[in-house]
């Protein structure tokens, strides 16, 4: 299910890595690394985005693909920390 949080995460990735506002360019379960959408530095930027824009501090041990490698995973992680 897509929520405002999902939209916020997807829009950030669309705007900064796919350079579009077309939501169909990124499915909620697409692997950000597997599809070559972000690289190592991009993942670091996404972590800053989560901390600064979504207000959730990402602990070291939480920086794993299960929490960060798709819109759904990021949204689920952020929700669990709010």
């Amino acid at each position: 299910m897509s929520t405002a949080l999902h939209d916020q995460v997807r829009n950030f990735i669309l705007e900064n890595y796919l350079f579009t506002n077309d939501p169909s360019a990124l499915a909620l379960d697409d692997s950000l690394l597997g599809r070559g959408i972000v690289d190592s530095t991009g993942m670091l930027e996404i972590i800053y985005f989560i901390e600064e824009q979504l207000g959730v501090k990402v602990a070291d041990q939480d920086m794993i693909p299960d929490n960060l490698d798709s819109v759904n995973r990021i949204a689920k992680y952020v929700q669990s920390k709010r």
């Binding site: 070559g36 991009g42 070291d60």
Partner: protein, 501 residues
């Protein structure tokens, strides 16, 4: 059979078949496994009628299958063309065509694979899909019943072993030709100064298609060591935990690797005491990062190194014992290699004077593939002109002072400004464009484009980046896009890129 990388690996497979070779995700391949996988690749390539000297392109991220393919191509008498897995289909198709590859072996799940298939449909390039899924990583699955007698023709030391595409443009790709002997000689020199043995276990987070990653792979295999194969540093904590769990003894990185590693990570949370060597190449590292790295890993020797694809990989290294005394230096030439600093007229300049770094030795390339003009410019009188500016001190230690030619380094990847300009110029509404570099905290440099629009056009930053994303690898997309009324030019009309920054 002549000494070669392939021979060294086959010897290990015969003498120590159970020894650990490649660790990847949940899988481990022994040397015996790799030997069987190489034989299977060679047999499959022979079924595709691969002839001696034929080129085979590889499009895979770092994984054991990449290694089997790279060595299997050589076993079948071919030459390897490792493609940059970050490039887009249009660039990849052009490189495959330019190098005249007979076969493309790659991961069908690669995001560019479908488009590449379409682009190559009219060509006679044969496709060899190699699935890289977690459940198909066992050697048995990879070999899929293909058996062979494992008899290979002798490798001709002077024949083409590998073609590595470097910073050319789409219109004029530039591929470095390395012979089997270039690769073998450089590998041996590195094995020697790092004192690599079969008891070492390295980590490779650098892409194998990149000459530094390629040399990390080859040196560990030549030494009979094992290698933890990773393919990115997106999750540094995960990588560090794996390094600790596997008791790795060596780690290779470029400056941005260490910036990412030290950025948000507390290295002392991980048991890294077995790390005995850390290598750093790919451009100058900021001194605070070097200092923090040494504090975080007091037991590891830090090897600062310098090289380029045109010299197989490594040109110089700084012995760790000299790190303090010669801080800022990239060290002394590797074994059997000479370095001189020359002026534009090819004369050697005095000590401490800046000139172009020139190299002679067994690692220096055969030339650029089908580009006699570029080869002639780079190889003059038996010396490789690196395009790097530097000087040598009175003790023979070399220091890098910049680039003689316009080239941007994003992370450690070379990017030709012309390639990015070429991509942007094809966008409707662009009258002219110039590309330059700007300082970047993590990557050292990032790309900046300055665009003059045609009358009435209304491009914005996003449109330019979206267009670039279609044609350029992600790291080549400009981070900054600016619009200007005109570009700064010299009296003769040449764009002055340095004025754009």
């Amino acid at each position: 059979m002549t000494a070669s990388l392939l021979q060294a690996v086959l010897d290990h497979a015969r003498r120590a078949p159970e020894a650990s070779c490649l660790l990847w995700q949940q899988t481990q391949w022994s040397y015996g496994d790799l030997g069987a996988a190489i034989a299977s690749v060679a047999a499959r390539l022979r079924q595709l009628q691969l002839q001696p000297g034929d080129r085979v392109a590889l499009l895979l991220r770092n994984c054991p299958q990449y290694v089997a393919l790279a060595y299997g191509v050589v076993a079948a008498g071919g030459a390897v063309v490792p493609l940059n897995a970050q490039e887009r289909a249009s660039v990849l198709a052009r490189q495959i065509e330019h190098s005249g590859c007979r076969v493309l072996a790659g991961d069908p799940h690669h995001p560019e694979w479908p488009r590449l298939q379409v682009a190559l449909a009219a060509s006679d390039v044969r496709l060899l899909p190699v699935a890289i899924t977690d459940d198909a990583t066992s050697v048995e699955a990879f070999c899929d019943g293909v058996k062979t007698d494992a008899e290979y023709a002798a490798v001709d030391a002077h024949a083409l072993g590998m073609l590595i595409y470097t910073s050319g443009t789409t219109g004029r790709p530039k591929a470095v030709m390395l012979s089997h002997d270039n690769l073998w000689a450089n590998t041996q020199a590195i094995v020697r100064y790092l004192s690599l043995t079969a008891s070492d276990r390295g980590v490779c987070v650098l892409p194998f298609h990149f000459s530094y990653g390629n040399s990390v792979l080859n040196t560990h295999l030549a030494a009979g060591a094992s290698l933890l194969v990773e393919d990115n540093l997106a999750f540094p904590q995960v990588t560090l935990q794996r390094i600790a769990d596997h008791g790795c003894t060596g780690f290779a990185g470029v400056p941005s690797t260490f910036t990412l590693l030290l950025g948000r990570t507390r290295l002392h949370d991980y048991d890294l005491k077995k790390l005995r060597y850390v290598t750093q190449a790919g451009g100058p590292m900021p001194k605070p990062i070097t200092t923090r790295l040494r504090e975080a890993l007091p037991n590891a020797q830090l090897f600062v190194m310098y090289g380029q694809t045109e010299a197989a990989a490594r040109i110089t290294y700084l012995p760790p014992s000299m790190l303090e005394a010669k801080l800022g230096s990239v060290g002394i030439p590797v074994a059997d290699t000479e370095v001189t600093i020359r002026d534009a007229g090819d004369a050697v300049v005095p000590v401490d004077q800046v000139g172009e770094i020139c190299v002679r030795g067994p690692g220096v390339m055969l030339g650029y593939w089908q580009d006699a003009e570029a080869t002639q410019q780079a190889l003059r009188g038996g010396w490789l002109r690196t395009g790097d500016l530097g000087h040598m001190d009175g003790d023979g230690f070399i220091y890098i002072d910049g680039r003689a030619v316009e080239m941007i380094k994003v992370g450690a990847f070379r990017v030709s400004p012309q390639e990015v300009e070429e991509a942007i110029a094809s966008l409707q509404g662009v009258q002219e464009v110039a590309v330059t570099s700007q300082p970047d905290e993590v990557l050292g440099q990032s790309i900046k484009a300055v665009i003059v629009q045609t009358a009435g056009a209304s491009l914005d930053e996003r449109a330019v980046k979206a267009h670039c994303r279609q044609y350029l690898a992600t790291y080549k997309i400009p981070k900054a896009v600016e619009f200007a009324a005109a570009l700064p030019r010299t009296a003769s009309g040449k764009v002055q890129r340095f004025k754009l920054a």
